[in-house]
């Protein structure tokens, strides 16, 4: 089949068009683009789905294919995960979203993520057609994920390893963001110690030594950048200007 191993999302008997649209958006957030629909309740295309998924997510809907049965919707799928709110007595492996997507990435072919209707979820008959079950670990006292949220979390787990994390702003480091070296920290300590001494900070004499030590300790423990050191010198100079 396709070299493309990006999971296919199969919505089984989805009810509200809005939820189909929201699922399309959630998919695209994490780069999932192929949606298949099994017996959507209100037919297809569905204007409410389109209204919910405007722009780029609309294309996910445009390309969605409709199938009469879950079995037929499995074309080209090597491995299928049925998402259910809780494990079932079906002697199938049960994965978390994370372990499921780890498995998906290790497949040669494509996998499908199967989601049931909003109210009732997948029937046992549907689950029977899947290789494994995926269950999101939720608060047992409030396990109310909606369809788009379930899709979102699966997409997130798929994208977590495939989408590069946003390049951190501190990767591109200006001089100001480089960590100060120990000499610069030492000089900063000297500068403060000198000015504080002039201002009578180290008083009474019996405590002076430990006060000095506390200050030195603080400067060397903080993770100061070169920019921070510059700021702290500037602060001191300004405060002690005549």
């Amino acid at each position: 089949m396709s070299d493309n191993r990006t999971p296919v999302v199969i919505l089984v008997r989805p009810q509200m068009g809005e939820n189909i649209g929201a699922a399309a958006r959630a998919m695209l957030n994490f780069g999932l683009t192929e949606m298949r629909l099994v017996e959507p309740r209100d037919g297809w295309p569905n204007p409410k789905a389109v209204a919910m998924a405007s722009g780029a997510a609309g294309k996910v809907l445009d390309h969605a294919k409709v199938y009469p049965t879950l079995a037929s919707a499995m074309e080209g799928i090597e491995y299928a995960f049925a998402t259910t709110a809780r494990g079932r007595e079906l002697s199938k492996p049960v994965f978390t979203p994370q372990t499921a997507m780890d498995k998906a990435r290790a497949l040669d072919g494509r996998c499908a993520l199967i989601f049931g209707p909003e109210r009732a979820g997948l029937e046992n008959d549907d689950v029977a057609r899947a290789n494994a079950i995926v269950t999101v670990p939720v608060n047992p006292d409030f396990p109310s994920l909606n369809l788009a949220q379930a899709v979102l979390l699966m997409g997130y787990e798929w994208g977590r390893d495939t989408l590069p994390p946003e390049p951190a702003p501190h990767v591109r480091k200006a001089a100001a963001e480089l960590l100060a070296d120990r000499v610069e920290i030492e000089k900063l300590g000297d500068h403060y110690e000198e000015k504080l001494k002039e201002s009578g900070f180290f008083f009474p004499e019996t405590k002076a030594e430990s006060m000095r030590l506390n200050l030195r300790n603080m400067w060397s423990r903080l993770t100061l950048t070169q920019g921070d050191v510059r700021i702290l010198h500037g602060v001191l100079r300004q405060l002690t200007r005549r």
Copy 2:
């Protein structure tokens, strides 16, 4: 400081009541229960929020506290994550949701997850008050997470480790070694800003805003203990004494 390390969710200037309600639901799905609101646009309580978060999630709203500023909403918070759609040029560490929640689990105190208004997200001034940034790795061509989805993903990462985290080596810390909370950091920033303003530090006027922001960023990025904060107040008082 509470023993409870479950993250606090802070919504800054949220607009639609429905979204506040949906965020409460998303929180509770993963066992997050403490919501704080900064200047909710339509006041508080908000009937639309309540309508969206019925049942158990309604209790999250019942207990939500409202604050006039982000700074004041930081009470009792040791470490704050600002969620933003993309990294900013603010030389703060940038985490994925996963690494952020790993860090949250390793803290002694509580952390906050800060979310901005629906349309515009957090302002630089808000981000400056956080220790770090969290960015969800999304499809760069379709990065349209809504508020409740962003909350959901952070909650998911918090809840994902259903196993109790490795117990942190328990050291009884002297007060001086406890990390300062965000309110203490905020007051330190205020104190310096005030005295530096008096001394003419923020000059020229065109650069004043970015100088202020740099300072705020520095204070919130440094891992200051309560002892450090005391020292830094003392230093300033001494230097500005007549």
